[in-house]
Symmetry: C3
Subunit: 268 residues, 3 copies
């Protein structure tokens, strides 16, 4: 494997992750699964980045599982479905849910087809900006399958039950405007990469610690009890107040003409 199917470049503290198997419409083969996993694990540890943008090279974001390639060997399906502990994401799920472990915003830039596993990867990000000609489908239904890469969870955080079932039971195709109305995506744009960069820039004006705390709080507390959420809110706030970036942000907010750079973020 001389050439990895995912490119990563970092510029102005924003990591751009490009799915780079354009001749196959960025369909997911085993190498893609492993490389996305490794990319997530590497970005998690990078304390300098302020945002991650994920896009697809070529005409599509990602058309889903490369069935022919993955099914060449029996052991591949096992590798995808296997997990060490019940309740932890397996490899197939990790390429969707793993983005939530990176303590900076992950923005999915979508165009062309966002189908099947491609949609599930997109749903794992924090924000989804789609070109207005993007098409979407829970394609798994058309192959007699479930959306099993964590897609169930992600859909439940965004859609009413009946709408989520409609997409998952029929596998029907829908367009960017419909995706927006259904809350599957965050925004439609005819220049989605520019929109994503502007959003990354806007969030970078805020403290890296408060942004990381919001992400972690929503990841952990969203489906927990009210008591749990209240306790976490307070605890994360105390952690923020113990760091330097809160005071730096207050300084910058009140001295816009001479902003100071943030310190490295804490461990979140």
């Amino acid at each position: 494997m001389s050439q990895l199917p995912v490119e990563v470049s970092i510029k102005n503290n924003i990591a751009i992750v490009s799915l780079d198997r354009a001749d196959k419409h960025n369909a997911l083969d085993m190498s893609m699964f492993f490389t996305i996993r490794d990319t997530i694990k590497s970005l998690k540890k990078n304390k300098h980045i302020r945002a991650v943008i994920v896009k697809g090279n070529g005409v599509d974001f990602c058309t889903g599982l490369d069935v022919k390639s993955v099914m060449q060997s029996q052991s591949n399906a096992l590798k995808l479905l296997f997990k060490w502990w019940p309740g932890h994401a397996n490899l197939a799920q990790y390429v969707s849910t793993g983005w939530q472990e990176i303590p900076v915003p992950v923005i999915m830039v979508l165009h062309g087809r966002v189908w099947g596993g491609g949609l599930q990867i997109a749903l794992g990000g924090d924000f989804r900006i789609a070109h207005d000609e993007t098409t979407f489908s829970v394609m798994e239904a058309r192959w007699g399958l479930l959306p099993d890469m964590g897609g169930t969870i992600a859909l439940k955080e965004q859609l009413p039950t009946d709408k989520a079932k409609l997409l998952a039971m029929t596998g029907r195709e829908f367009n960017a405007q419909q995706a927006l109305n259904l809350n599957v995506i965050t925004k439609v744009s005819d220049v989605p990469m520019e929109t994503a960069l502007a959003l990354a820039e806007e969030i970078s004006q805020q403290s890296p610690d408060s942004v990381a705390a919001v992400k972690k709080l929503y990841k952990n507390a969203w489906w927990q009890s009210k008591a749990f959420a209240l306790a976490r809110e307070s605890w994360y706030q105390v952690r923020i107040l113990m760091g330097k970036n809160q005071r730096l942000k207050t300084y910058n907010q009140t001295h816009p003409e001479k902003e100071k750079p943030f310190k490295q973020r804490r461990n979140w």
Copy 2:
């Protein structure tokens, strides 16, 4: 009781359930409660059907509880509220929540008045297609009551809290377009039965096992933890892969000119 207040007919593997007490606007008396329960229990076991459509005969879908009839005897209220185990649906709740136990999509075709208990029955289905002149109301408020037929749960899966409270506290009437905007219904149509049949047909093109798995996954995992949902996703996918229908669907998807019929679905 020579004539049951619910008719069931099955055609092309689609079960049509008709509330048939048109002279009383399909209001719910004890016989209606028992017959709906028995209908659900019978459809649960039918492995040949691919969808259920529920409608009301006459000018209304259902105007709610037939208070005069139910309150004739003290024991009726007890029968409705009684349950063997805390946490299981009682008879009143079962006519709403029971539809989720049938492993095929249940489509509610709504017209006329969908009030009180009628609305709660409708909320128990997977999809709600309403004629554009349908009216809705959480009528219980006007009788000094709670919507206690499982309506609380169903509303929480569809609406933001403030909107759900507004409907349940005021009992105010709302129309089909408002119901659509509030996510109370899935679609407005001036030919709701045709729209429902087309949806049933569309879902019947997919594997009965993947459809049943989606329904069960969303029923069980929707309000559970993320870990639980991830584990269920994988387990249901393994069960699907062990069956024949996944391969049949893949064959049909790639050979549209010579589709093969599905095998009977597994137990879900």
Copy 3:
């Protein structure tokens, strides 16, 4: 402290709570926190009121924390963050979450700026009616902080995850129409106080016990299991049926020309 920063007046059984620190845009100082807490605790015990309306005197509803005043003493931050038991709301959270303990609808009437802590207070109410020129912001982000006054919980009950994160990570300002589209508020009105009074009046036509039961059911059951919610529904209904107001409401509903007043509500 001769003059309390919160005014309460009761008229026609509707309590009007006015944040009254207009010269400071109703920013939250320690006195404001304590007085709001005491106001909530007093209204909880008042069995005569049928609704609470909260508004701000002057040009803004509330611009958030009065940082300069609160940070004068080290002990203030401790007072705000301190709580006796993990999982219970601390003082800062209580001024938002406390409104849910009052067993009548709490309607927030919003105008001018609803920023930071002001937004979190507003999110604690049951309904939010905003003037069309109101502006909103999760202002905490701009000070390097989390929205930690219970705002996380309230947002999760109203918004899809991506939208909630967008507001909390960027702190960006949004207007009344955007707030409505995001489900942050219930309604836009150019006469929000009149709209709120009409809603309070409409709900007062219903039984105080069924209204209190709806509020408590949604407070307790919203993020609990399905079994828990079903059991509570039935239990609250039994409690309603044991009271007098259900029968009074039934009488009023069927004798509109000679309505009888409700009895005092039960303990909820």
